[in-house]
Symmetry: D2
Subunit: 219 residues, 4 copies
């Protein structure tokens, strides 16, 4: 698992764009893999759950699920077990993404389940307070802060990193918003982040590989 959470880490969240679904997901996965090979950056992809299986067979970089449900095995039609995404090839999981906010009690259940399976959780938060709360749970390996990296308020990113490390220094903090250029990525790293979460900026780029290369060029 140490290898999976090696920093700097760049997680490409495929979300649910047509440009990142099925065959298009494969193209994006291959571009991500090439960037990982060419730059040494730890590239991770997070596709929709039906695409996890074949993408994890096609590329060597880690594949994460975008979400798993806080349910135990049983009668939960339409839910997805952590065991299922793991067997399909996922090595980690986003938790509580801003587009899939979860109840506090369910976040607690899922980060424990992910840890039990020796997988990596990326717990997403939206401000300093929820980042601190997230740090007190079964330690997620990564916290994906939704605080935008901006020149205007760098202290908020630093403050978030500080409070998280104060509670648990082993947690790596990712910047999950406002990253669109190599300068943004460098700024995030300079403020204490150890990686970033990306999505539409890369997915919708004319040349996603070039966009990714540009992004990691300054670190």
């Amino acid at each position: 698992m140490d290898n999976i959470k090696r920093t700097p880490i760049v997680i490409l969240n495929f979300k649910t764009y047509m440009e990142s679904t099925g065959k298009n997901a494969l193209k994006l996965a291959m571009a991500s893999e090439m960037v990982a090979e060419e730059t040494g950056v730890n590239m991770v992809i997070a596709p929709q759950s039906p695409d996890i299986y074949f993408l994890s067979k096609e590329v060597k970089i880690p594949v994460f699920a975008q979400h798993v449900d806080a349910v135990d095995a049983g009668g939960h039609t339409g839910s997805t077990l952590i065991e299922c995404v793991k067997e399909a090839g996922a090595e980690g999981c986003l938790v509580n993404h801003s587009e899939q906010r979860m109840k506090l009690a369910d976040i607690d259940v899922v980060v424990k389940k992910v840890a039990e399976k020796d997988m990596v959780s990326v717990l997403c938060t939206n401000n300093i307070e929820t980042s601190a709360a997230a740090s007190t749970l079964e330690p997620p390996e990564l916290i994906g802060s939704g605080i935008p990296v901006s020149k205007a308020e760098p202290e908020i990113v630093e403050g978030t990193v500080d409070i998280i490390h104060q509670i648990n220094p082993k947690i790596s903090v990712l910047c999950g918003a406002g990253i669109s250029t190599g300068e943004d990525m460098k700024a995030a790293m300079d403020l204490g982040a150890e990686g970033v979460l990306l999505a539409s900026g890369i997915i919708m780029a004319k040349d996603p590989k070039e966009a990714l290369l540009n992004l990691v060029s300054k670190i």
Copy 2:
């Protein structure tokens, strides 16, 4: 698509049991395929979404999703598009299962999306009133009524079939509860149902193939 919704139809909902996840899902899928071949019954399997891709490669019987989200392509982390499950190999989708109840407006969105993709929807309902409401929407091919087949109140099943056919005679009605033996299945068919939805009774059976064979033995 006509072949996919051929009746009598038996849909095995894999839900989220360990016995129906990953490699175990494959065993269950193969047992279902053998029963289809031996009996001519239209067997359909509905696994968790990460298992759709490889199961649809391994067996020839139709694979349905257990649920898709009422979202368009875009930023919806953790959701699953109908386009994604289709490209993964699904030919249909359960909608509004009792363990995944949906908002009326979302049911409307999803049955339209499934129809646009020439896939089969199985719209699950819980009583006569919601079955009638379901029949007025973009016609789902199949309505999976949650009304139990019991000797005590056969008229409720008949009444449901009647009201659905009155609104739209092309919709086939499945019985989605209380089916555990060949007699139950025969009773459902005698009351006007054209198939059944099964789950734990088969999944947890010592010999799922035998259990399925027993179930379809009387029709």
Copy 3:
């Protein structure tokens, strides 16, 4: 109850604006009552649930709840029973408003509960298909269609009224969107609607009473 659903009916949904909360809710309720008295229009107000009790004591026009939960009496902290809003003075209830969409199964439960209590339900829908579905349930007295009244597509409003009346001629249809002037209201009535659902246009008006009077001036 006949008096409560007398048409033309104008329902003012207070939503959760500061301008329609607490003491401000009282001002708005009194303005609505004056308009009812001056024009003979059946004015109904739908405040937040903590305001139902005192508003129903202060004004004689009917007070509706904005929502009740599909739960039976029991352990459901934070929910509100239909029995509770009735005892507080509510004579009806909005159901499935676009800002509070409900599961199909829950809509079915709530319209039945409202009917059992001899109260009036206003079931809100978002298009022709969901309006038809709504009409097949325990008949709500009123369906609040979210289809905007526009000069461009009057046939959609008419089509909605037609399909609802075809399924159940006793249901009155209200227009729930796009009503901001007396002309809009008249257009809605000419297309077969028997009333309207209003909100921010009146709540945020400089003079809500004047705005209401203007609105009903053409019918």
Copy 4:
């Protein structure tokens, strides 16, 4: 506000029982008030939101809401603003009750809103981890731990109190489960709790006042 959160504090959650709705809510509120007067215990009642207004007029003990929504003033039909329950007479609010679990981001929003209004929040949690997470947010005055007081595992209650006080010593911890006798209540206080959350055991008691008196008799 100091008076409102005076300990020992006993909060009676009315939930949504018929026995605690409307006129019955008034009886229960008056019984609670008598117990407060006779014993000096800080009794608080938490009725359904339509009952807040008249109960807060009828009794002098504090009235709390069972839940408020994490929304700002605006178009949120069916939601309830903190401003609305405050104007109706509530002096505090339960947050994230086990029957009304909230998203982490929403809990953060609501505890901040409650604090801004100088009201008391009772943030409910379900284990040590979520209690710790709750303590890092805008400090709620009270944390209602759902950990049952049992003779078998007293250390879990103590551990919860300890970790909460380690993070923020000003937070009072309430026991929210397993309290049915005076002995249970005494045990909870001995383990570091400063009060309890009660519900059906009192609401459904033949004589709620007697049941309450018995409960506080040992402290």
